[in-house]
Amino acid sequence: MTSTACFMIVSRNDIPIYEAEVGTAPKKEEAAHQHQFILHAALDVVQDLAWTTSAMFLKSVDRFNDLVVSVYVTAVSHTRLMLLHDSRNDDGIKSFFQEVHELYIKILLNPLYLPGSRVTSSHFDTKVRGLARRYL
C-alpha cells in the first residue's frame, strides 16, 4: 500500500525552512503544491491550538479529504514541525517528531547556521528520510 506523507518545518515567522516528501506514493508535481497549500492553511489552526495546551505534539489538527495534519510545536523558538499524512500511526508519528526535533536542535547549535534560514544540510535530509522510513 502506498502512503502519502509530506514533512515541513516552519519557522516562527511562518517561513518554511525545510520540506520533504517522505511518502511512498509516486511523486506528482501538483500533489506537492497541494500539500504545501494544506499545511499552509493549517497554520492558523495550529496557532490557536498551540496556546490551549502545554503538549508539544498536537495530533490531527486539521484534515483535508483523507489527509491529516499533525504538528509538533517546539517550546522556545515556536518552530513548527508539520506532517501531512494519511496513515493513523500516532505513536510512530510522535516518535518521528521527537527524533526530528533532536536533529533540528543539532542544526540550531551549529554556529554557522542562522536561525530562521533554510536548512540545507544534506546530512539532516538523509537522517529525516531515514526516520520517516522507520516510523511512518
Partner: protein, 186 residues
Amino acid sequence: MAPAVPRSGDAIFANVERVNAELFTLTYGAIVRQLLTDLEEVEEVNKQLDQMGYNIGIRLIDEFLAKSNVTRCVDFRETAEVIAKVGFKMFLGVTASVTNWDTAGTCCSLILEDNPLVDFVELPDTCQGLYYCNILSGVVRGALEMVSMKTEVTWVRDMLRGDDAFELQVKLLKQVPEEYPYKDDE
C-alpha cells in the same frame, strides 16, 4: 636516550581549571560567526583567526612552561611530541599523534582524531573556503615562535571538508638563536 619530559598531559589536565565543553564550543562558534559577519570574506576570516591564535600562542607558551615541567627539547621531533601529547591535552583535552616526518626531521603532521571545537559544526555552502579551526594553527605557530622556532603551520586535512581527521602540518623554517637584548659589559 630517554627524554625526561612527561609523556602525557593527563596529570596536568586533571589539575587545570576547566570549562564546560559546550560553552567552549559555542563561544568559539560565536567568535567565528561574528568574524564572518564583520569581515565578509572567508579568506580574511582565516587570516584573522590565525592572527588571534598567534596572539594566544605567544602568551600560552608561558603558562605551558610554568605548569607542565617540561625541560628543553633536544630536537624538533621531541618538540612535536610534547605539543601533541602534553600541549594539546593540557589546553584542549585531546591528544594528537605525530606522523609523516620528512627525512630531515623538520616537517611533520599533527593528527587530531577528535576536536572539541567542531562539535555541531557543519560548513554551509557559503563558507566552503573556511578553515574553521585556523585558530589552532596560529596558537602552535605563536607558541613555537616564543621558544625560538620559526614555523609554518598549515591544515592538510579537515573533517569539516569531508576528510577523516584533522591534520596540521608543522614545518620548521629556522631556529632563531637566542639574542640578549643587553650587552654584558654595560
